[in-house]
Amino acid sequence: MTELFLHQQWLIWLTLLPLGAAVAAFLAPQQARWIGLATALLLPVCALAGILSVTLTHADPITAGGWPTPLGIELRRDGLALVMLAVTALVGFIISCYALGYFPVHDRHYDKVRYFWPLWLFLWGSCNALFVSGDLFNLYVTLELVTLSSVALIALEGGKQALAAALRYLFIGLLGSLSYLLGVGLLYGSYATVDIALLGEMISATRLNHAAMALMVAGLVLKSALFPLHFWLPQAHTMAPAPVSAALSALVVKAAYVILLRLWFEVFPALDTFAVGHLLGLLGSIAIVWGSLMALRQERLKLLIAYSTVAQIGYLYLVFPLAQPETMAAAWTGGVLLMMTHACGKSAMFMVAGTIHHTAGSDRLSRLAGAGGPVGVLAVVFTLAATTIIGLPPSGGFFAKWIFINAALVTGQWWYLPIILSGTLLAAAYIARVLGWAFLDVKRSSYPVIPWVMKWPPLVLSVIALLFGLIAYEPIQIALIGAPVHGSIMVEMTP
């Protein structure tokens, strides 16, 4: 029994189950909610089982179909996959609970409910498929799956702006993935394989490979909305229904980034990526400042949060210049940590925004007035989740920034310090603006009753986001299983 449990490929079940559930939800729209809920309950368990089985047995990848690489498609069981799956399971579970309340079955939302669940489960399954994939072409397919389900979910809102945002997102997604695919093709041309591990062993620093890298990086940068290619993100994340916004910000932008992370540390090390890393770092720095400043300007909560995502993505891109030989492990870990914690925090914030929209009819900041009062939980959730966005301890964001600053100091790239610090300050400023409204005491005559699934699940998530720093040790140890980097996380400076 234990044997069966331990050697079960839980990580693959994490892909198959939601996809199957999506089909079931499509087949039986009346039961879609319960199918979704059951899946949402099941997947965290699977993720946990997967972590257990990998840590207790081994982390070697398997191949789909059982064919050895390069022929077969490698499916990873490494730490990065594990933590991303786990975070997705957690966030997904909360989003599912939230969506139960957000899309009530009884009223005019019936159409949305009917299609939300299959689409959302598709998104979930495809994200999971992406995280375990170790094959460049398979990554393309999963990426497209993710993109398409995101497009569908954004369009679910149904308004003209939502449709436009979805369509734009679709074009951007296609442009990015085609660019990526062209790069994959060029790599295949040289090495006749699309397996990441094999490529990593074979690749050498030729101009063609460099071009392939450029195409792939550009495509992924576009998909993960790094400045100045973030233009599609605020709209897409704002126009979508709140649970979808949460999923998009928490998971979808991370999908492209995870691919980039895998490529950068497993395939590209042989290439001369010094300048590219710095270019990405530069763009990341601008993104931090730009996103934060734009967030400061926004009058709508969801937009503000979306721009905050733009800034947070900037931090993720600091990983690349900071990953110098001595700080390789540090930068990688910092990036992964930030991804995890940002997923929790940001989705909680979007859910709060959704609830505000739901109850006050609009998510304008001024509508927040009094939110700290009768619906005090919202203020609490937002505050707690905001800590990780600002990077206050004990959130994971705090430690991620710690690692980044440390790496910048050790590698002598001091110019990232003011960027990180000012980003933190600006984040505090825009969060403070929201809190200022939330705590403004306004007597509202009546508030609609908020279903409890819209109140408490986000609180759980925000508490996790807040306390992530305290429990980060195990997740990071898990993430480091089979990681492409080795070395100390807290590198010390040598005089």
């Binding site: 022929l71 072409f137 393309y140 397919v141 497209e144 398409l148 497009v151 569908a152 369009a155 308004g159 003209k160 702006q161 449709l163 436009a164 945002a165 979805a166 369509l167 734009r168 679709l170 074009f171 296609l174 442009l175 085609l178 695919l181 062209l182 093709g185 060029l186 295949y188 041309g189 006749a192 605020p234 709209q235 704002t238 926004q298 009058e299 709508r300 937009l303």
Partner: protein
């Protein structure tokens, strides 16, 4: 030997033409066409790469990839057209004009 390379180069050109049109043409249907052309260019590079061998038949792996790619691209085309139609029904627009114009605030 040069033939596949020739096609590969052609593929790159198609990619560029599509890219160009995607960005500067305003009508959504045109953008959809452009994306399709771009995709065709990429597929052409794939097939050309697979066809460099001495065999009469090319590398089945690239072909399968392109098959997959074609289906994916068809799906996107279908969705994009559906979205465009829906948007047109709502706004009478077939461009992003309203979207770009409308402030997000």
């Amino acid at each position: 030997m040069t033939t596949p390379l020739l096609y590969a180069g052609g593929g790159i050109l198609l990619f560029s033409i599509g890219l160009h049109a995607l960005l500067i043409r305003r009508h959504l249907l045109r953008k959809i066409l452009a994306i399709n052309i771009m995709g065709s260019g990429v597929f052409m590079v794939f097939i050309a790469i697979g066809a460099r061998g001495t065999d009469a038949v090319g590398d089945p792996v690239t072909q399968v990839m392109v098959l997959t790619g074609i289906v994916v691209s068809l799906c996107f085309t279908a969705v994009a057209i559906a979205l465009t139609i829906r948007m047109h029904n709502l706004t009478n627009c077939t461009t992003f004009a309203t979207d770009e114009e409308s402030s997000l605030d």
